[in-house]
């Protein structure tokens, strides 16, 4: 009698356990299927809760194994926006690790000032010694990102004309 009770007890426990496992796997499977259909979990987000307090990527990430990784189109290195020229890849590889290429391409400096900027980054921003590549890098920057004379005030440019309705 004791034995049959025990067996029944164990069977019950086993049944509950199996049921739990079954339900758990069922739910996980459902979630995975849902994730495939809606990878951004958009259904769980209300329209106004779009502020991201988790992780903010600081830089576009493109898979380096992609064959278009270092594509050049119309004389411009697509991934960074640098113009094509001798030393391009040295600049890409040495000058876009910490900051965006945009910080370089929006600036205009003489050879002397580009070099001074590199020295400043080495002294204060953990930029490494560029060795023999320094001359090529500085020459590339001074040639393609040289200052343009602007005078004391420029004409208004790039105006998009539009009819003002009133």
């Amino acid at each position: 009698m004791d034995n049959s009770e025990k067996v029944r007890e164990i069977a019950k426990k086993l049944y509950r356990l199996m049921l739990s496992i079954f339900i758990l796997f069922g739910i996980i499977a459902a979630m995975l299927i849902y994730l495939m259909a809606d990878p951004t979990l958009s259904a769980f987000k209300s329209d106004d809760s779009v502020e991201g307090y988790v992780t903010v990527p600081e830089k576009n990430q493109i898979d380096p194994s992609n064959q278009d990784f270092d594509k050049i189109e119309n004389g411009v290195h697509v991934r960074t926006g640098f113009v094509e020229g001798e030393g391009l890849m040295l600049v890409v590889n040495n000058c876009t690790n910490c900051h965006s290429a945009k910080l370089v391409t929006q600036n205009r400096m003489s050879k002397e000032r580009w070099l001074a900027t590199i020295r400043w980054m080495q002294e204060t921003q953990n930029l490494w010694d560029l060795g023999n590549n320094e001359e090529t890098i500085v020459s590339y920057l001074a040639e393609h990102y040289a200052p343009v004379q602007k005078g004391r005030r420029q004409n208004l440019a790039n105006i998009e004309w539009y009819e003002l309705e009133k």
Partner: protein
Amino acid sequence: MKRRKFVKKATLGSLASLLGAEIVFGNFLPEGYGLLGLQDPDPFKMFNKDSQMVLLNDKPWNMEAQAHLLNDDVTPNKFMFIRNNGKIPEGIDVANWSLTFDGESVKQEKTYSLNELKSKFKRHTYQLTLECGGNGRSEFDPPAKGNQWTIGAVSCAKWTGVRLRDVLADVGLKDDAVYIGYHAEDTHLSGDPTKEPISRGVPIAKAMQDETLIAFQMNGEDIPLAHGYPLRLIAGGYPASASGKWLSGISVRNKVHDGTKMTGTAYRVPCKPVAPGEKVLDEDMCIIESMPVKSLITYPKTGAVLTKGKSLNIRGHAWAGELEVSTVEYSVDFGSTWQNCTLQSPTNRLAWQHFSASINFPEEGYYEIWARATDSKGKAQPMLLPGWNPKGYLNNACHRIAIKVS
């Protein structure tokens, strides 16, 4: 036995938390940010910015407005410029966020939790103008290095927080306090954990002003992530770099604060005027305090074509750092003659002031509307670039928009 325990735990405990975790995580995911993080992050979506904002830099994030986007009396987040020096902190834990006061001139070190700050001190709300010291840098010749801001690195939002003065009084200061310097949770671009991307500050007199806040709300809501969530310093009228974001520490110093971007040439201009391109020694550079008088025409957008005979109502904002704006004028003849605009008083000290005018154009043709503000000490905006300086700060040359009458 072990397996049974594990399964039991899994079924009872983890089931709920597993589901819960997934949903919570989903809630906090920025819109447009994929689970694997391999998609290009769209900063306009990620930071809720208008698509007409201009991205200057994506590492670190730097973004500016255009003049016509700044037409609102109170700048909403979508039109507010972003100027970051380092990486935005990750995994912000609001429940455990704290602010520590230290330095040579505190009586003893003291730490407040975010909740303590919110509950212990009286709250104040002010509308405060924040302008990047380098706003307008793109016009300098010879060019200055850095982000090439045009005119859009300015905003005037409503900030809510507690007075820095009230908290400093609670901490207890020694008589020799001269400066405060902030410390924040953003991280250095090089990844070096020992480096602070920026740690600036203000003289103690500025720290003691009514309007200098430790803020936790912008325009009545939590401060947006890119603007310093959950806590930042606000020192309106000073270069916006003095208003540290992601604030976690304040050092009360017995000397001028010497944190990152306080020394050398950063946020400094030559103490005496120099010729364009002249070399200036570090010791001849002085820290920028109050920003200069400036104005923006925010309506209409540049490029408007008008019908002859119709008047044009312009409007915009003017501000003058620590001072008030006393007049704003406009010219449609390249500065030959000037007419007064209607100018409103500021909502509170250090808020920008709104101006408007109705303009009649004498004949068909190409016009430029120039706006010129004058501060309460009689200093007006120059029409050409102001004094050249090595880092390209403080360009307050008058704003111009182009108009055609046909």
